[in-house]
């Protein structure tokens, strides 16, 4: 009798272990900060509860090279990564990301057309804007020319460290119309023009790398105005800081979910992306941080005042331009190299 009970107990134990071994986990990497916290509330926790899949959250600052080394060495530990659009296109052509069939996972008609790509599904629409402390500057800067005007607005400026989202603003400050920026930047004279405009401001620039830095510096008074991700500024505003955004000449773009090639949890990764593109989670995310949803149904679920803070809101979209993905895919590496050399001097 005892032996029979013991044998059954052991078998049950092994069965239990087997079930445990089947419980999946998925590692999701985003840009962190306020955006990562909003994702935790809107995506990770509800997904883990609904599907029973453990979500390990992490963050990075957009270093494409990290993903590439992982795939090249065959040691992929990230399952879903949030990438900017030039990195998505580059990764897809280089075979760094798994191809995603939007039709197969039922997202072809759920999300916006621009959010469907060969190797990625859009997450949200975000914008790089000009931000300043409205308490310190009653009359804020109205254009990128004002951003460059150190006499009118003395003090340091924050700019993102890198050629992207810096060279375009330099050209706009030099008088190039927003719609022509990428055309001008495509010529060698245009690039020289952008760099010499940056030279004029160089002594007053404080470079940021993490999205959390600009609102921190604005509040601390280290910089008098800065480029920033609009959602991070809104998060600081929600904390009671009097930071203002100037949408004129801002550059908006989509971020995408991509899956590095060779990820061990492909199925769970696809299910996560499916979940995160649903109307309910998208609306939840966008009400936490004002980044535009890619699911049109989610937009209708948001209250009016939340919609006004989105990059996709009519008034904000008026003077903004879309990020030049193809331009940066083609010219990104050489311009980043030139920028690094320039910044080091």
């Amino acid at each position: 009798m005892k032996l029979w009970k013991l044998r059954h107990a052991v078998l049950a134990g092994f069965a239990g272990l087997g079930l445990c071994a089947n419980a999946q986990a998925v590692t999701v990497i985003s840009f962190g900060g306020a955006s990562g916290e909003a994702m935790q509330k809107a995506y990770y926790t509800p997904f883990a509860e609904k599907e029973g899949v453990a979500v390990t959250a992490g963050d990075y600052n957009g270093e494409f090279a990290k993903i590439r080394s992982m795939v090249e060495t065959g040691n992929v530990s990230w399952d879903v990564v949030e990438v900017e659009s030039p990195e998505l296109v580059r990764g897809c052509t280089e075979g760094v990301f798994e191809p995603i069939d939007a039709e197969k996972i039922g997202l072809q008609d759920t999300v916006m057309e621009s959010a469907v790509s060969d190797c990625g599904i859009g997450t949200f629409v975000w914008s790089t804007v000009m931000a300043y402390d409205s308490e310190k500057l009653a009359e804020g800067p109205q254009s990128w020319a004002d951003f460059w005007d150190v006499d009118k607005f003395p003090g340091k400026r924050g700019l993102r460290k890198g050629a992207k989202y810096t060279l375009e603003f330099a050209l706009m400050a030099d008088g190039v119309a927003a719609a022509d920026v990428y055309e001008v930047l495509g010529t060698p004279e245009g690039v020289d023009r952008a760099f010499s405009k940056l030279d004029a401001l160089k002594a007053n620039i404080q470079w940021w790398e993490a999205g959390a830095q600009p609102p921190q510096w604005l509040v601390a008074g280290d910089v008098v105005m800065s480029t920033a991700y609009n959602g991070r500024i809104a998060a600081a505003q929600a904390e009671g800081r009097k930071l203002a955004i100037n949408w004129a000449g801002s550059i908006y773009d989509l971020d995408f979910w991509a899956i590095p090639k060779g990820s061990p949890n492909l199925d769970a990764a696809l299910r996560f992306i499916q979940f995160a593109s649903g109307a309910e989670p998208q609306a939840a995310y966008s009400s936490e941080i004002p980044y535009g949803p890619v699911n049109p149904e989610a937009i209708t679920r948001l209250p009016e005042e939340k919609q006004q803070a989105m990059p996709t809101y009519e008034a904000n979209l008026k003077e903004a331009i879309r990020m030049g993905t193809e331009f940066w895919v083609d010219h990104g590496e050489e311009l980043e190299q030139r920028f690094t050399a320039w910044a080091a001097q």
Binding site: F64, K66, R68, T93, G95, A220, D222, E333, A344
Partner: protein, 407 residues
């Protein structure tokens, strides 16, 4: 007699051999450890800085064909055909990015040329691949493109080492300086040496009196102060660096204090520039200077100075001529330790300095993390290693004390 002495000599040699074998066996595990953990990775690093096997690994037949070609005009049809075939194979194996990246170092339009070519080439075998390639893009009719491919074909290359010295090879193969806007590394190296030198000097000036105080105080108080010196040592490096930001930033404690006292009207720029880097690096490296000095000073008896004074020397002369030379071993150890550590510093200048204050290790990290350019990262690291070894040899030469003759 002679036979006996020869016998004795043989016995002596046998004993000595056994002794040295025993000594070697004791040291063998350490030597093995050093080989595996130290020599092998550094050898790998040095190899990476000249390694050029991307093309040979991904497109071996094309690389061989390009090297066999003499470089005049366009390569033969066979080479062009193998280029297409091997590129297509590379796409299906997911390694075409490696080739694109390597060729982009030669000319930044190469990756998009490859992508465009792969997209537009006909799937069926044409009569001539050469014609098909030229139909996709006129660049394939340009001998320069093929010569570029030929330059990227050999197994080893000196391009990374030349780039760290701000040089490159032009089309004829001569070494020429890089254009102005790309020349950065020599100034970065001199900046690294400069910052390390200033930090070492400041550490010495601040650390020497501190070590002297610690060594000459009565044991109880001395030990307490020593713990205070060691306490920051046990705090995380990032915490110490971040706390300097809080102290030195425009709205930080120091500026607020100075403004409150009315000494300044606008906040001083103390961080995100060279000042911030030097202050924080000195703070972090100070214990490395104090500890060797302290241990040497602790062993110097006080009566030498007293003897000098009793013989008529001025107290300062006694200090300078009697005490200081005895501490030179500690000074040398501290200086070399602090200098070599400062040369390799990465996180402190990255967080507290501006782009013009970044040291070599920042660029090694940039090439490793941001652009995956292993060749440049390895070359910069190797050059730093070479410079450090040279300086260490100079240091050895300068501080060499003549050894008493060993029997």
């Amino acid at each position: 007699m002679a036979a006996e002495s020869a016998d004795l000599r043989r016995q002596l040699r046998r004993v000595e051999r056994r002794r040295s074998l025993r000594a070697f066996l004791l040291v063998a595990p350490l030597v093995l450890f050093l080989l595996v953990v130290f020599v092998w990775p550094i050898g790998g690093l040095l190899w990476r800085s000249v390694d050029n096997s991307e093309l040979q690994q991904v497109m071996p037949a094309t690389a061989a064909g390009l090297l066999a070609w003499d470089g005049e005009g366009l390569p033969p049809e066979a080479v062009q055909a193998s280029l297409v075939q091997e590129l297509r194979a590379a796409v299906s194996n997911g390694v075409v990015g490696v080739v694109g990246r390597r060729l982009n170092y030669e000319d930044s339009g190469m990756r998009s040329l490859l992508n465009q070519t792969l997209r537009k080439l006909p799937t069926q075998e044409p009569a001539s691949w050469q014609a098909a390639l030229q139909a996709v893009s006129p660049r394939w009719a340009d001998p320069a493109t093929w010569q570029l491919l030929r330059r990227a074909a050999p197994a080893t290359t000196d391009r990374y080492w030349l780039a760290t010295l701000d040089r490159e090879r032009n089309v004829t193969g001569d070494i020429v300086p890089l254009p102005d806007q790309e020349r950065v590394y020599l100034s970065i190296f001199s900046r690294t040496l400069q910052i390390a030198g200033i930090v070492t000097l400041l550490c010495l000036l601040l650390g020497y009196p501190l070590a002297y105080l610690l060594a000459t105080l009565p044991t109880g108080t001395g030990n307490l102060l020593l713990i205070l010196v060691l306490l920051p040592f046990w705090t995380s490096l990032l915490v110490r660096t971040a706390s300097w930001i809080v102290l030195l930033q425009s709205g930080g404690l120091l500026n607020q204090g100075l403004q409150g006292l009315g000494l300044i009207s606008a906040p001083l720029e103390l961080v995100f520039n060279r000042f911030g880097v030097i202050v924080s690096m000195t703070h972090i490296l100070l214990p490395f200077m104090v500890l060797p000095l302290y241990s040497v000073m602790k062993g110097i008896p006080a009566h030498y100075q007293r003897a000098a004074i009793s013989l008529g020397a001025h107290p300062f002369a006694a200090f300078w001529q009697v005490y200081v030379p005895q501490t030179m071993a500690g000074v040398g150890a501290g200086v070399i330790l602090v200098f070599i550590m400062a040369l390799g510093y990465y996180i402190t200048p990255a967080l507290l300095g501006g782009p013009a204050d970044q040291m070599v290790s920042y660029y090694v990290a940039y090439y490793t993390n941001t652009t995956n350019n292993w060749g440049m990262a390895a070359a910069l690291g190797s050059l730093l290693l070479v410079v450090t070894l040279l300086l260490y040899l100079v240091y050895q030469r300068l501080t060499q004390q003549p050894n008493p003759q060993r029997r």
